[in-house]
C-alpha cells in the first residue's frame, strides 16, 4: 500500500513539475526585469542580457525576452567608451531585435529599441556616423509612431535625441521639450497591469523634462 501511495504522488509530482516551467517563465521574467530597472545593477547588464537570452532560448515563441536582452545590450553600449565594445554590444542587440521583429512585426516597442540601437552606434564616431544613423533612427521612430502613436517611449527617445543634438543642427532644449511633454502625458495613461510588458522610461522622462527647464 505504501508503495502505491508513493507512486501516486510521484505521478502527481511529475505532472506538477511538467507545468512548473510555464509558471517560472513569468517569475523568471519579472525577477529579471526588476533587476534591469534597479540602478544597482548598472554594471551587471551583460549578465542580465545573458539571462534574458537564456529565457528566450527556452521559450522560443516569446519576443519579450529578446526585447529585454537587446535592451540590456543597448544600455551597455551607451555605457561603453571603446568603439569596438559599443559596436559589439549593438551587434548582439541587433540580432535579437531582428529575431523579435520577425515574431512581432507590428510591435512599436521593437522599433523604438531599433532607433536606440542606431543612436548607440553614433557614439563610435559622431562625425562619420552622425548623419547616417540619426536619419535611420528617426525613420524607425516614425515607423513606431505609425504602429502605435500612444507609445510614450517614441517621444521620449525623440526628445533625447533632440536634446543631444547641437542647436545649429536643429536640436537643443527648446526643440526637445515638447517631445518630453508629450511623452509625460502618455506615460500617465500607460496601462501598468501586465508586469512583463514594456514600461520603462517614466522617471528618465521626468528628469529630462527638468533638465529642459533648467
Amino acid at each position: 500500500m505504501k508503495t502505491k501511495i508513493i507512486f501516486l504522488f510521484a505521478l502527481m509530482a511529475l505532472f506538477l513539475s511538467a507545468n512548473a516551467q510555464s509558471v517560472s517563465y513569468d517569475s523568471a521574467m519579472i525577477k529579471s526585469i526588476r533587476k534591469i530597472h534597479n540602478p544597482e545593477n548598472a554594471d551587471k547588464l551583460i549578465d542580465l542580457a545573458g539571462r534574458f537570452e537564456r529565457i528566450a532560448q527556452a521559450k522560443p515563441a516569446e519576443w519579450l525576452p529578446l526585447y529585454y536582452s537587446a535592451y540590456c545590450y543597448i544600455f551597455q553600449a551607451f555605457a561603453e567608451k571603446d568603439g569596438k565594445q559599443i559596436d559589439l554590444n549593438v551587434d548582439k542587440a541587433q540580432v535579437h531585435i531582428e529575431k523579435a521583429m520577425a515574431m512581432a512585426p507590428t510591435e512599436s516597442e521593437l522599433l523604438v529599441l531599433q532607433a536606440m540601437a542606431y543612436q548607440a552606434r553614433i557614439g563610435v564616431n559622431p562625425m562619420m556616423r552622425g548623419m547616417k544613423y540619426s536619419g535611420m533612427a528617426a525613420d524607425a521612430l516614425d515607423m513606431a509612431e505609425k504602429l502605435n502613436a500612444s507609445n510614450p517611449r517614441i517621444y521620449f527617445i525623440r526628445g533625447q535625441s533632440a536634446f543631444n543634438t547641437p542647436k545649429m543642427f536643429g536640436g537643443g532644449k527648446d526643440a526637445a521639450k515638447p517631445h518630453f511633454v508629450k511623452a509625460a502625458s502618455l506615460f500617465e495613461k500607460e496601462n501598468m497591469e501586465n508586469p512583463l510588458a514594456v514600461h520603462w522610461g517614466l522617471e528618465a522622462n521626468e528628469q529630462m523634462l527638468m533638465a529642459c527647464e533648467q
Binding site: 504522488f9 513539475s17 532560448q57 562619420m128
Partner: protein
Amino acid sequence: MPFPFSGNGIFAILESVFNKQLVNEIQQFIHKIYSSSLLTFFYFTSFSLLYNQKHRFARIVNYFVNLIDKFVLKKYIMKYIGLFLFLIILNPLYAQTKLSGSVKSGNGKTIPGVNVYLKGTFDGASSNESGMWSFNTDEKGQQVLVLSMLGFKTKEIDVNLSSASMKWDVVLEETFNALEAVVISAGTFEASDERKAVILKPLDIVTTASSAGDIYGALRTLPGTQQVGEDGRLFVRGGEAYETRTYMDGMLIQNPYGSQVPDIPARGRFSPMMFTGTIFSTGGYSAEYGQALSSALVLKTAGLAEKTQSGVSIMSVGGGLSHTYRADKNSISGSIDYAHLGPYFAAVKQNLTYDKAPQGFSGNVMHRWQNGNDGMLKVFASFDMGDVSIQYPSYDSVGTIVPVNLSNRSSYVNSVYTGSLGPGTTWQAGTAASYNFDDRAIDGDKIKNSQKAIQGRFTVTHEFSPQYRLKSGMEYNLNHEIQDYTAKASTQTYSTLVEDHTLAGFAEAEATPSMGFAIRAGIRSEYSNLINKANIAPRLSMSLKTGANAQISAAYGRFFQTPINDYVRFTHDLDFEVANHYILNYQFAANDRILRAEVWHKTYDKMVRYTSLYNPDPNAYSSDGYGKASGFDLFWRDQKSISMLDYWVSYSYTDTKRLYRDYPVEATPYYVSKHLLSIVSKYYVGKINTQFGLTWTMASGRPFNNPNDTEFMNGKTKPYYDLSANASYLTELFGQFTIIHLSVSNITGFEPEYGFHFSSAPGPDGQYRSFAISSPAKRFIFLGVFISID
C-alpha cells in the same frame, strides 16, 4: 572521482550493478519529484488523510492506484522497490550540480560575455572578464550544455549531470566575419565607412589641409605618391601620371582631371563628397582593373541619398546650388556650380598674367533606384565647361609673350546596375560614355582635341560562402580621338585619328580559409585592336595575420597599358607597356593607431621611346624602353594619444631609372623626388565647433635636364616645402546648418622650384636661357560658406 557517499557517487555504484538506462530513468523520475518537493509533501499528507478516512474521493484514487498497480507497478517499480525507496531517501544529497569552466577562443584568448546554459532551461551564466563561468542547476542526467557568443560558432556539448560539480574548459571557434577577417593590405589604402580595417575615412580626404577639397590633393599626403606641384595629377611610385587610372563604381573615367594648361596644377573633376569609399592602390591591385601601369584609384559612390535637402555654397572663387530629393526607393540629386577666379586674382597677386581668369560652369545629376533588397541602379551624369587664357613669357625672345588659350567642354555619363541572381550570386552591368573637347591656341597654333570614350562592363560574382568568392567579368572600351592641328597663319589643318577598341576579360578567386589568412589570385587578358596585340596579366596577393593586431601581406602582379594617344598618333606598331610589381607589406593596427611599412620593387618593359614627340614619322617610335623602380614606404597614423588630435605621417623613398620617351640614357624622370615626407594633422576644438588642420610636406629635389650640362638629367631642383592650414567652423546661418571653411596653402611663403624651361636655342654666350617653373601664385587662399537646407 566522485565522493562515494554523495548521491551521485551512489548512482555511480548503482550504475555498475543495474542497467544504466534504468538507473538513469529512475534518477530523472526522482529528480522530478524533488523539483517540486514542497508540493509533493503537501499532497502526500492531504491524500494520506483522505486515504485513511476511506473517503469516496480516496476510493476513486485507490481505484486508479490499483489499476496502475496491476499494469505498471508490479512489472516495473515493485521489482526494484528497494532501490526506488533507497534513491528517494538519498535524493536530497545530490539536489544540485555546480557547473563551471573556462572559455577561450582558438588563439588562446579568453572570451568574456559568453552565454553558457543548459538547453531548454533557464539555468546558466555569462563568462566573466577572464572567461570563467559557473552556475548551479537542479537538472539531472542527459543535458545539452550550450555556449553561445556572437562572432563565435555556438557549441553544444552533451553532458550527463551526474556529480556534484563538473568542469568544462571549452574552446570556441570564431565564425567567419568578413568585416573582421584579415584584409589584403599590400599596396592598398582603403577609405570606407564599412570595413573596420581601413586607414582613412572618406571625410578624412576632404578635411586634409593641403588637399584644397581635391581628392588627388589629399591622396598626395599618402606614401608612394609624388609632389609634382606644376602638374597636380597623381604620380605613383616612379610612374607617370597616365599610369594611374581612376574608376568610378568599376567604370574607367577617361578624363578624371580638368584639362591642363602648362605649369598650372590640374584638379580632379569630381567632388570628393560624392564618394563613400575610396581604394587607393599603389600597386599589386586586383585583376578587375586593367589599363593602369602603376596605380588604381577606385571610387565608390553613395547609394540612396539619406534625405531631401538643398545646399548653397558661396566661395571666394564662385558659388553653387544643389538639391537632393529622396523618395522611398529613389533619390535624385542635382548640382550646378559656377567658378570665376577673376575677382580673386584681382585681389591676390598672381605670378602669371591672365587675359581671361579661369572660369566655368559645371553640373551633375545623380539618380539612385533601390530595386528590392539586392537591386541598385546608379546613374551619374556631369558636364563641365571652362575657359582660361594666359600670357606666358617667351623663352626664346625676351620681352615677348606667348598667349595660351584653352577652352574645354566635357561630359561624362555612367550608369551601373547591380542585381542578384539568386543566393550568393550578384551581377553588375555598367556603361559609361565620356566626351572631352579641348580647344587650344598656343601662340597662334591651334590644336583641337575631341575625345570620345565608351565603356561597357559586365561582371558576375559568386560567393560559395562568405569565405570563398569568384568574380569574373568582361569589358569593352572604345577610345576615339581626333586631333586637328593648324599652324599659326596657316590654313592647312592636319587631322589625326586614334581609334582603339579594347576587349578584356578577367577572373579572380578570393579565399579566406580562416580569419587570419586570405589569398586572391586572378588573371586578366586584354586585346587592343589598335596595336593588334593581346596580353595575359596574372595577379596574386595574400595576407597573413601574425598577431592579434599585426599582419603581413605580399602581392605580385603583371600590368599592361596601351600606349597613350600621343604615342600612337603616327604609328600603330607598338606594344603594350608592361610593369611587374612585387610588394611586401607589414601592418600593425590597434586602438586607433596604425603602422604600415611596405617594401616594393617594379620592373618596366616595352616602354615607348621616340626621337621627338609629335614626330609624324612612324619609325620615330618604338617599344624598346625599359626601367626599374624600388623603394619603401612608412605610414603612421594616431587618433588616440592626444584627445581630439588625429595625425598621420608618411614617408616614401623612391629609387627609379627609366629609358623611355626621348631619353638618350637611363635616367630618373623629372617628377621623382627620392625622399618625401608629409605630416597631416587635424584637431577639433569642441568649444568653438571648429576643426583645424595643418599639413606639412617636404620633398627632396627633383632631377631636370639642363641642356647646358653635357650629362643628361643631371640638374637637381631645390627641395620643396609646403605648410598648409585649414579651419572648418560648424555653425548655424538663417537657422540652417552651415560650414565655414578657410584654407591657406604655403603659409611660409616658400618659393617652390619645380623645374626649368630652357630656350630652344643657345644665346650669343652659347648658353641656353633658363626659366624656373614655380607656382602660379605665392599662396592660394580659399574661403567658402556651405549651407545645408533641410
